[in-house]
Amino acid sequence: MLLAKNITKRFGQTLALDCVDFEAHRGEIHALVGENGAGKTTLMNIIAGRLRPDDGEASLDDAALPSGSALAALKAGIAAVNQSPMLFERMTWEENLALGGFETDRFDLAAVSARARNLAEHLGFKLPPPGSTIEERSMAERVRLEVLRALSFGPRVLILDEPTGVLAPSELTSFLDLLRRLRGEGRIIVLITHKLREALAVADRITVLREGSVVARTTPAETSESELARTMIGELPPLSLATPVFAGAAAVLSIEDVSLERGGHRWLDGVSLSLRSGEIAGIAGVDGNGQTELVEILAGARRADSGEIRLLQGADNAALAVIPENRDLVGLILEMTLWENVILARPLRERTTRHGWLDRSRAVELCGELLNRFRIRAPGPEATASALSGGNRQRLEVARAVAAAPKVIVAHNICRGLDLAGTADVHRTLADFAAAGGAVLLISSDLDELLETCGRLFVISRGRVRETRDGERDAEKLGMLMAGDWS
């Protein structure tokens, strides 16, 4: 039995965990749900030995767990799989696994490979071709490899932090089956997720965290999705936006036959779609099928090999605002001030520049306006971007995009990592933008988000894009399309 008692953890002024008790039994899948920032990851990092708690202790089968050392925790039987796979990209998958628990006396990659194969067969999934590097593998494969590596340590406890975010719906079922199989072996599986439907589908027990405290302990039988949601945020979930407006207006963005090939791989294959003003359209797809490349091309950061992107209705380059997926590394420069981040967007920079001279006070003023209008919680325009919370950073990015008064906004995985309130906020802003005549293109792997917000829906798979037909707007059919089954 895994037991954590009285765990408390502070980060500076913030109280991340407040006297949290947690327990999980052998042969159980225990879901730990909560909003972003509720403390789930922190709790698990503490149990997995990566963080030291300020107070409290954890134990496994009555033996105290060492704190502050990931290696010690591994040896004690706790293995954790991160949100984003921590694999070594340029090394082969065998080398990656060799750094796991497939210990051999002599260094022998063949032996590692053989043992990995055994375990994988036992669990029912395929391994990549021999000698291939992680760079070449899909996200789903990476997740599986990381799980495999974690399992190689023979852990009694396996902690999975949001593992399903990158999986296509079809891959999801087999993954959940895998978890059940592992449970059958007597292990303790802790599943950290904000996807309530999955938690209800597979968990034996559910613990709900909110703002650092446990607010509920329940089982799937005793609760429902909406009930869980309410417990998670402490009130009724905010109303999601109104049904998508679809004005029969003229096309404003036209993507024609765009292709991109690099390193012998076709990232984009004749992508064509057009966007009309007033509409919110979506492109659904599993990460890694060309979305990032398409976004980069739309942003002007990468050039396509062929095809054209045209902004119609006399719009100029400033008419297209793109919000990248990677908020902290690409969307913002964390070491710069907020106003400097705001003028990263070319149209805004042009608005605050005259003959090459930067009008600092105007830029600061503009930033202040945005902070107010979009209710972004920040010390002020001169604060560094790193001082903002994740949700507020996202709000800033959306604000910046809208402030440039574009005709089209393209957003990639815009609500990833945001809580329900933040998500609703962003969607509302985009809906307002569309209602005022703008066009929005949401590129996302989150089917719920897309089904709720989008009018027309496209699917992207292996660089090809197709519009969905009328009967295809359900999760299952979409899942198949995303997996590439376009029959």
Partner: protein, 303 residues
């Protein structure tokens, strides 16, 4: 004539190769070390000083190695523990070495330049093997350090790619956060890499004074440390590539003297500039650094 040139090529390549192997190890662990030049110069000076004052070549070599270790230890403190900007740190150590060796040199030997000469390490004798035409003098008439350097090439390759230790080291250079999570001590691995490189670079410096020149002049390393950096890139981070690239530069340096001796109307400065210009040209031609470890040059602070 050709034999002398080829022989010279190998011996000129040796210090570069030694330093480059050290840099390979360091870069695989994720650090870019611009301070090779500083370690080499220090190694050169202190090796010669020790040999001169003690009369023992062995002590000289030891001193050279110690100097290289000392310089790299300072670098390790800055780069690993304090996670500072690696380029600037390395450059600082280069300036430091020029200053320290200059000060000590002039203090010990006055500006008048009293003779500061030692007998160089003798070449090994392989008996009849040296008489094989062409190959003989080129391959079999060298001092022990040359053979050591070239023997190191497959050894380093083996350690880095065929042992668990090497795997761990490369993991630290590929993604230190992940390596840390797996229980690898990234700090310790990087320290070890830098110290190993310190030994090799100090040795390379010692080679310059104890084998090649037999004396010390200020800035005797003449940019070889930077050339070693280029060699790692050109060799595509693979040991045999490094060896090939080192020989290439060894040839350029040997060419300097060969062509000068020919006494053409071509100004000697052209030859002196040759290795550096060549580095530039070859780097430009080869382009791309996609084969480098992913985390190369990024400071890593343990969370």
């Amino acid at each position: 004539m050709l034999e002398a040139f080829l022989n010279s090529t190998i011996s000129m390549a040796t210090p570069i190769l030694l330093a480059a192997i050290g840099e390979l190890i360091v870069e695989e662990s994720g650090i870019i070390n611009i301070g090779i030049e500083g370690a080499m110069l220090s190694g050169a000076f202190f090796a010669l000083s020790a040999a001169y004052f003690s009369g023992s070549t062995a002590l000289g070599l030891a001193a050279g190695i110690a100097a290289g270790l000392a310089v790299n230890a300072i670098l390790a403190l800055l780069i690993v523990n304090l996670a500072v900007n690696q380029v600037v740190a390395g450059t600082a150590l280069d300036i430091f070495a020029v200053g320290i060796t200059g000060v000590f040199y002039r203090r010990l030997f006055g500006i008048t330049g009293k003779a500061f000469i030692v007998t160089t390490i003798p070449k090994l004798s392989f008996g009849p093997l040296t008489h094989i035409p062409i190959v003989g003098p080129v391959l079999f008439r060298h001092d022990p350090l040359v053979y050591f350097a070239f023997a190191l090439v497959p050894t380093v390759g083996f350690v880095l790619w065929r042992t668990r230790y090497g795997l761990g080291l490369r993991a630290a250079g590929e993604r230190p956060e992940a390596a840390d999570a797996l229980g690898l001590d990234v700090y310790r691995l990087r320290w070890q890499a830098l110290l190993a490189a310190g030994i090799l670079t100090g040795l390379a410096g010692a080679y310059l004074t104890l084998v090649y020149a037999g004396t010390f002049v200020e800035n005797i390393s003449a940019g070889r440390g930077y050339v070693a950096l280029a060699v790692v890139i050109l060799g595509r981070w693979r040991p045999w590539g490094l060896a090939a690239a080192s020989v290439l530069f060894g040839a350029a340096m040997a060419l300097q003297f060969g062509l000068q001796a020919l006494g053409t109307a071509i100004p000697y400065q052209l030859f002196l500039a040759l290795p550096y210009a060549l580095t530039l040209v070859v780097l430009a031609a080869m382009g791309g650094q996609a084969a480098s470890p992913s985390a190369l040059g990024e400071p890593y602070r343990r969370a």
